[in-house]
């Protein structure tokens, strides 16, 4: 395929206007030793028809969610995406636009971002949301860095019940010693509240927890928040936005910064990316908030309009003193989330959340009832739960895969202490019939 509209004749005219004899002459600034003297060693170009067939054959080698019953979650979920969502994000005027730096011709993106921010504020109970970040891990990490700026302290206390990949991301970002991270191990699938109390001191900028936790359990946010605030630290809560139709918002427990992975709101699983980093905070802290934010204003004729605002926090103005090096947001994923939330509304979101919770509890009880799995945590859970399997997890998962099931996430791959634990995620897409069939197969193990 070829996406160059200029004809050979036009190329000749253009060269003549430039005053060059050949295109190669235009590259004469490149020193001889830095030139590539051979063609790139890459596959030959393909016609659209051949390319489509090649891609279909590659994709066809993957076992996708339409061909298997999957209980995989752990931060990324295969919820139903309403048809209207893709209809909107497929509009070229949205997806082929750049960052809305020229607001007069970017009102579509800007208003959609403002509406997205408004919805995230409604869900989380916070005053301000940014225009989104890369993913939950990035938002979580940026929250720790922001807390240090707000409090002018240099240490954070992180719960061991937070997604291991998020904790690892934070550790990578602060490896250079910019921030000390103290990890408090989880106990019983939730944060060890007394251990958090012991870890807090006058250097602590924030306590960072996740509810639901990586294990699907729900934290005692009220106690954790009070501990953080008593120590003069910020309280950072990672949430699951899909469940905020049924769960109290983090703001109700005094959260100062709320982060989360927003993929579940209208975005494809897509092998784990692109995600949608959610980031919301108090208005008082906005000047330390990372990332873009849209605001409402008026134009010279008094019409309502939207602009990117508080830009002086950002790298293109403040350079090395910026709140973050982040430039992109995940605008298209945020657009999908906004359309999703508009489509389901508060009632739909609550109904979907309730379906997830009820089906998860149905499956959990049934799996425990088979005798092959046992309960390991007492804490309440929402749509995801961990059980201990009595036998070899890998063998069980292979066996179930042959029967058309992706039987949960083996938690032993993340931590030796969690060997034998399997994490099951249930969504509104799992019918009772499918759940019963899975339980039947498990019973036959």
């Amino acid at each position: 395929m070829r996406f160059i509209p200029v004809t050979c004749e036009e190329q000749a005219e253009m060269l003549a206007r430039v005053g060059a004899r050949s295109v190669d002459e235009l590259f004469s600034d490149i020193p001889e030793d830095a030139r590539l003297a051979r063609p790139l060693t890459l596959p030959e170009p393909m016609s659209e028809i051949a390319l489509a067939a090649h891609l279909e054959s590659l994709a066809g080698r993957d076992l996708d969610g339409s061909r298997v019953v999957s209980f995989l979650g752990a931060g990324i979920y295969d919820h139903y995406v309403p048809a209207i969502v893709d209809a909107v994000v497929s509009k070229p005027a949205f997806f082929t636009a750049y960052t809305p730096y020229q607001p007069e011709v970017s009102q579509g993106t800007l208003q959609a971002v403002y509406e997205f921010q408004s919805m995230i504020c409604q869900l989380t109970g916070m005053e301000v949301s940014n225009a989104s970040m890369y993913d939950g891990a990035a938002a979580f990490t940026e929250a720790a860095l922001m807390a240090a700026r707000v409090t002018k302290r240099d240490k954070v206390v992180v719960s061991g019940a937070v997604h291991p990949e998020w904790r690892e991301t934070l550790a990578t970002y602060v490896e250079s010693g910019t921030l000390e991270v103290v990890e408090v191990p989880a106990a019983g699938g939730v944060t060890d509240v007394s251990a958090v109390g012991e870890a807090l001191d006058e250097r602590t900028a924030a306590v960072l927890v996740s509810s639901p936790t990586f294990y699907g359990t729900l934290e005692d946010l009220a106690s954790l928040g009070a501990l953080a605030h008593d120590a003069g630290a910020l309280f950072v809560v990672a949430t699951d936005p899909l469940l905020l139709g049924v769960l109290e918002p983090p703001a109700a427990y005094g959260a100062d910064i709320v982060v989360g992975e927003g993929q579940a709101l209208g975005n494809a699983v897509s092998f784990g990316g692109p995600g949608l980093g959610l980031f919301a905070c108090r208005k008082a802290h906005i000047r330390q908030m990372p990332g873009r934010v849209a605001g409402k204003t008026t134009d010279v004729d008094g019409r309502t309009g939207f602009v990117l605002t508080f830009s002086t926090r950002e790298q293109h103005i403040r350079r090395e003193k910026a709140t973050s090096n982040i430039c992109s947001n995940h605008a298209l994923n945020a657009l999908a989330a906004g359309v999703y939330l508009a489509a389901v509304g508060a009632e739909g979101l609550a109904g979907i959340g309730e379906a997830c919770v009820a089906k998860a509890h149905y499956l959990e009880a049934a799996l425990v009832g088979t005798g092959h799995f046992e309960r390991v945590f007492d804490a309440p859970f929402a749509r995801e739960f961990a059980l201990r399997y009595g036998g070899d997890v890998a063998a069980m998962q292979r066996h179930m895969l042959e029967r058309g099931f992706l039987a949960g996430v083996d938690l032993g791959r993340f931590a030796a202490d969690d060997a034998g634990f399997v994490l099951f995620a249930v969504t509104e897409r799992h019918t009772r019939e499918v759940l019963d069939r899975f339980v039947e197969e498990v019973s036959a193990l």
Binding site: R2, L55, F94, G295, T298
Partner: protein, 503 residues
């Protein structure tokens, strides 16, 4: 759509309702619904009981709308947006090329869109093969052998690479404190340096627009960890001294990092690895035609030399005979994100590379450079170019003389271009050029588009002479006109709230 006169309507019944400004929250009615939860087919639970007293007490105030409300709302918003499919978008440094439609189809194939990152490797061989193929292709284009696809964006790639470089120095028992950044650099460069705990040392440009070699040599010492350099650079020039620059950097044990923002100029012509760079990031949303999405998602893979490879974040895709597997390098800096990268974006970039092939990539760079030089030739007598040399895929003009002569600023010119249906170039960047306009036509624009752009810019220069106020007041034809950005900060309104309606 209508062929009738526009001059009807009244105050109560305007002929056209504004496309934007009415929020989705203000549409529909309390009983309006679009997607409802399916009926529960398992026993209901008491939410407050099973959630341990954490059930939501007050529902969030989300919109109540029907599907047709949503369809219209976003269609109106889209019509107030300008994208590459709308018209010419010569936004310098952003490579706003056409985004092929087959890429969009590819990433939506169920075998790519509905697979989970924790599936067993044998169930995602197609996806892993695609990622491996993309790693290989990017390595070949970069001239650097090992590629990680993890970074979510260019700035994220910079961070990943700099942390990798830091780990390399630390492992060699030689931690260093400073990173050199030219004064023409993107803001993300110094911001990244600071995030990695390094000190930024700014290097001036010389009068030909390249790195001031003497100043660079003076700044280089054994405490310098790296030089971050965009090449071709942000004024659109290939640094003629590139080999001397990387050699000087290496001479003090520092590493050379290439900001790959401008890779679209040199594919198949010159490779950063062959210029002496040790690491680079590649913006798939620029060079490899993945859409910008109104701000993202993009992807910023990082390519490095063998000595750096063992420090890269995991996981990478490896080929083991016919099988593709995930593995984490031995001395990895650790994760920089969750899961495996912005896979949906990677699918699009892979699709693009397979569509055009290696020769196609070279042809793309050649046309991008020819189009930029052509446009520069059409404009240079009316609009002074910051550095009068053969440019690469973009060039920077200065609106300084126009401002002195007429009081019309580059901002006014940009706004006036909107009235002509053209997206303005990047303005006020790089910082080293007064009233800068940075023009990048890309290879996907025809000659007629370039000719019209030049004609329009010449006309605007004439308008500025004749009637500066016309330009101060522009734009006139856009969905909204100039917005009060100061008020947006001072009276910050960053979210709709139901209270605002009741009040």
């Amino acid at each position: 759509m209508s062929t009738f006169s526009n001059a009807g309507g009244s105050a109560e019944v305007p002929m056209h309702e504004p496309l934007t400004g009415t929020l989705i929250f203000e549409r529909g009615a309390a009983e309006s619904r679009c997607v409802e939860a399916p009926p529960l087919d398992v026993p209901a639970v008491s939410l407050d009981a099973v959630l341990g007293g954490r059930a939501r007490s007050v529902p969030p105030a989300l919109p109540h709308v029907t599907e047709v409300d949503i369809a219209r709302h976003y269609e109106h918003l889209a019509s107030a947006n300008f994208g590459v499919d709308s018209g010419f978008y010569p936004l310098g440094s952003c490579t706003m090329k056409y985004n092929p439609k087959i890429d969009e189809q590819a990433c939506r194939l169920p075998g790519f869109a509905r697979i989970h990152p924790y599936q067993p490797e044998e169930t995602v061989q197609g996806a892993l093969e695609l990622m491996w193929g993309l790693q290989e292709a990017l390595a070949e284009v970069a001239g650097l052998p090992v590629v990680t696809l993890q970074p979510a964006a260019g700035a994220h790639g910079e961070l990943t690479a700099l942390l990798t470089i830091r780990a390399y120095h630390t492992a060699n028992g030689d931690p260093r404190a400073k990173v050199l950044v030219p004064d023409s650099a993107h803001g993300t460069n110094p911001a990244t340096v600071a995030m990695c705990g390094y000190q930024v040392v700014q290097i001036p440009s010389d009068e030909r627009g390249g790195v001031d070699l003497e100043a660079l040599r003076a700044a280089l010492d054994t405490d310098v960890a790296a030089l971050m350099l965009t090449n071709p650079n942000t004024v659109g020039l290939f640094d003629e001294n590139i080999l001397a620059i990387t050699e000087a950097v290496h001479a003090v044990g520092a590493l050379a990092y290439c900001d790959g923002a401008n890779l679209n100029a040199i594919m198949g012509k010159s490779r950063p690895g062959d210029m002496g760079f040790d690491a680079m990031h590649i913006n798939l949303h620029k060079t490899f035609a993945t859409p910008h999405g109104g701000g993202g998602p993009g992807a910023g893979p990082v390519a490095v030399t063998e000595p750096l490879a063992s420090y890269l974040p995991g996981p990478l895709v490896a080929r083991d005979g016919e099988m593709f597997t995930l593995s984490t390098p031995e001395h990895s800096i650790g994760r920089v994100r969750s899961f495996l990268g912005n896979f949906g974006v990677l699918v699009r970039a892979y699709t693009y590379i397979r569509a055009v092939g290696g020769e196609g990539l070279r042809e793309i760079s050649e046309q991008a450079v020819l189009s930029a030089n052509y446009l520069k030739a059409l404009l240079e007598d009316a609009w002074p170019v910051a550095y009068d040399r053969t440019c690469m895929h973009e060039f920077v003009m200065s609106g300084g003389p126009l401002r002195k002569a007429t009081g019309v600023r580059t901002l006014d010119v940009a706004k006036r271009l909107l009235d002509y249906g053209i997206h303005p170039p990047t303005v006020y960047f790089p910082l080293i050029v007064e009233e800068a306009l940075m023009v990048e036509p890309t290879e996907t624009e025809g000659k007629a588009t370039l000719d019209r752009f030049a004609a329009v810019l010449r006309l605007i220069a004439e308008e500025a002479q004749a009637d500066p106020d016309l330009l101060h007041g522009a734009p006139y034809t856009t969905p909204v006109r100039r917005l009060d950005e100061a008020a947006a900060v001072k009276n910050a309104d960053l979210a709709w709230r139901p209270e605002d309606v009741e009040a």
